[in-house]
């Protein structure tokens, strides 16, 4: 007897849930002034998030709103992130743009915030859909997953063993992307490519190093490594560039131009991709403002203008997609500085 998963499945879905979705949107409503848009990244002092939050800062302040950034200094301090959500609720922020360390852990706090009239936008990594008003996605997970495989396939001539070096085993984004990679690899043109292993470097340089070494030793004729995490790819690149595998084993994935410049120029890496984090932050900001001004409620189909970035439409699961990622290589990398 007792309370089991089944007995609760029925009601677990409607727990909390977007009370605001009920309210109706007014697309022509003016943009409210003096709103406070609070950014809560996975981790402060993380270069990637600093770039995107600064993007957000520009956008938000351009609209005459107030910008602030708070957050934990560790990327796995879920409890810390929760108490920050609580604090922001206390401080009556107009909207929170949060990149969730954990899809579930924030829900209670976020829904509490929303009950207190705070709009919640997730960016970069999402929470469960019923805990936020909208999710601003860096690029559709599908695009990212598939394009990374395509990049790798080009570099190794559609042939040979490849491996994936991911971040933490719990990283929500990476896992969805990897699923799409696997799906992409099912296509006939990639029949000669075998994905031999997914390794996890926990976004730690030393660990990623040793995982890379392990991959190369375990699969002597490994042709390429896909690392869909900025930390992983630069660790792998640093190792390859200093080892005998330099140039022989291809490496691609998600990285920032600044991190990867050295390795692209010294020929360790041919090409990799990423969206523009600054734009991501900006879009999150615009979305937050639009929500707080009542222009949108986060319901699919609604449209709003994101300043100079043009107008965006909310897709299913109230997701706003930034666009296709940019591919960086020798030819264009020097034009980007983030």
């Amino acid at each position: 007897g007792g309370t089991t998963k089944k007995s609760t499945d029925s009601d677990s879905t409607k727990s909390g849930s977007g009370s605001s979705a009920a309210a109706s949107a007014n697309p022509s409503a003016p943009i409210k002034k003096g709103l406070t848009i609070a950014y809560l990244p996975k981790q402060v002092n993380n270069p990637y998030f600093t770039i995107s939050d600064n993007g957000g800062k520009k956008a938000v302040e351009a609209l005459g709103e107030k910008y602030k950034e708070v957050g934990t200094s560790s990327g796995t301090d879920t409890a810390g992130q929760v108490s920050y959500v609580n604090t922001l609720t206390q401080q009556q922020a107009s909207a929170i743009a949060v990149s969730a360390q954990d899809p579930g852990a924030l829900c209670t706090a976020l829904n509490q915030a929303r009950k207190n009239g705070v709009k919640v936008v997730t960016y970069d990594s999402d929470t469960n859909t019923n805990c936020r008003d909208a999710f601003v996605s860096q690029a559709s997970a599908e695009d990212l997953g598939r394009t990374e495989v395509q990049l790798m396939a080009k570099q190794i001539g559609n042939k040979g063993q490849i491996a994936i070096l991911s971040a933490a085993q719990t990283a929500t984004n990476q896992n969805t992307w990897i699923d799409f990679m696997k799906d992409e690899l099912k296509k006939p043109e990639y029949k000669d490519i075998q994905l031999v292993k997914v390794a996890y470097g926990n976004d730690d340089a030393q660990a990623s190093f040793q995982q890379t070494q392990g991959l190369l030793q375990q699969y002597p004729n490994l042709k390429g490594i896909i690392s869909p995490t900025t930390v992983g790819i630069k660790a792998a690149a640093q190792y390859l560039s200093g080892s005998k595998y330099k140039g022989k084993v291809q490496l691609t994935g998600l990285g920032t131009p600044n991190d990867m410049r050295a390795y692209v120029t010294n020929g360790t890496v041919q090409s990799f991709e990423l969206w523009d984090p600054a734009k991501l932050g900006a879009l999150a900001g615009y979305t937050a403002v639009a929500l707080a001004s009542g222009q949108i409620t986060g319901a699919p189909g609604e449209t709003f203008t994101a300043g100079d970035m043009g107008s965006y439409t909310i897709g299913k699961d109230s997701t706003v997609v930034l666009g296709k990622p940019t591919v960086f290589d020798k030819s264009n990398i020097d034009q980007y500085h983030f």
């Binding site: 993380n46 270069p47 070494q213 030793q217 660790a235 640093q238 200093g242 080892s243 050295a262």
Partner: protein, 351 residues
């Protein structure tokens, strides 16, 4: 009331034999780790022939260098019955300092020196707090762990050093070497040997063992306790600083999170190396071996294809095994010694 003497004869021979036996035993205790290490590596080699290739050996050595350096410093402190938990933070901040300097196109050697100097600085702070303040090292250095970490992230914020900022020569130094032996490994070996020789063959070195063994007795014996503790912390800080510089050279990437949580790894290495937290015993060689063992495990597991899900659990269990085995060996030895003592005593008598 006069009791006549227990015959004092036959003392020298007994001494000789016992001592010979003793140091052999002591040596063995470090050998034990070495044996485990070698067996593990060979086993892996059988499973995967790429493992001990030139590249493979080079990687093993490189992976170990940084941890070995910090562990040697930590051991010096632990021998004095103290501990320095701030090494991780120190390593992080020094790495960054060196990086900042090199980014400005500075000379690599100077960069390394800067890192070491900064490390010494923090060593002095810790040393003074512990020796003058006479407060538990665990707490103080847990405090400085946070403080230095905080300074680090306030000072550098979200800035980061990337390979592109570093002079190529420096990066090459990070991974090149003579054949399978990287420069970093050589450097580390030199440091290790110097440290070991100092601890074994200099009065001040022996003092460290003495005051670790019994602080009160050390004070009465006129050992300059505070000065010595300060020295130990300075050594530790300096090595953490050096390690920071080498980290930069090796990984080419540093941000304000670098070195986070490293202290636990270091402490584990020292413990596995048989340096007792009660002070006064153990050697830096042991600590170095411990470090080598730990890093090697983390190279072995991936290369025999153990899913990284298992790595952490296996790490922990191996650590437990290592110290447990070491302990059991020690107990056995003690028992043997007791029997020997008894035999020699009665031998003396019946002679």
């Amino acid at each position: 009331m006069t009791m006549t003497a227990k015959p004092a004869s036959a003392a020298p021979p007994e001494a000789a034999s016992t001592s010979g036996f003793l140091d052999r035993v002591l040596k063995v205790r470090e050998l034990a780790i070495l044996v485990v290490l070698v067996l593990m590596l060979l086993a892996t080699q059988l499973d995967n022939h790429a493992f001990l290739s030139e590249q493979g050996i080079k990687d093993l050595l490189l992976n170990a260098t940084i941890l070995v350096l910090v562990a040697v410093g930590q051991a010096t402190v632990v021998i004095t019955r103290n501990v320095d938990l701030s090494v991780g933070s120190t390593m992080g901040i020094t790495a960054f300092a060196a990086g900042e300097f090199l980014r400005g196109g500075g000379n690599p050697l100077v960069g390394v020196l800067i890192a070491i100097a900064l490390g010494i600085g923090f060593g002095v702070v810790n040393g003074l707090l512990v020796s003058l303040g006479q407060v538990p090292a665990l707490v103080v250095t847990l405090g400085t762990l946070y403080i230095i970490r905080g300074l680090d992230s306030i000072w550098f914020g979200s800035k980061q050093i990337t390979a592109a900022d570093l002079p190529s020569g420096f990066a090459d130094f990070g991974h090149n070497g003579f054949g399978a032996v990287p420069y970093l490994a050589l450097l580390t070996a030199v440091v290790l040997i110097v440290a070991a020789y100092y601890l074994r063959s200099y009065r001040s070195g022996r003092d460290l063992y003495a005051l670790g063994s019994s602080p009160e007795a050390a004070r009465l014996a006129g050992v300059p306790v505070r000065k010595r503790i300060l020295t130990a912390y300075i050594v530790c800080g300096a090595l953490a600083g050096l390690a920071g510089a080498l980290y930069l050279a090796r990984f080419g990437n540093v941000d304000s999170g670098t070195g986070n949580g490293y202290e636990l790894t270091v402490v584990s290495a020292v413990v596995v190396g048989g340096v007792a937290f009660t002070g006064g015993s153990g050697s830096v060689y042991g600590a170095a071996l411990g470090a080598l063992l730990l890093t090697s495990i983390n190279s072995v597991l991936p290369s025999i294809g153990v899913s990284s899900v298992w790595v952490q659990a296996i790490d922990g269990i191996l650590l437990l095994l290592a110290i447990a085995v070491d302990r059991v060996v020690a107990l056995r030895v003690a028992a043997v010694l007791r029997k020997r003592a008894a035999q020699t005593r009665s031998a003396i008598h019946h002679a």
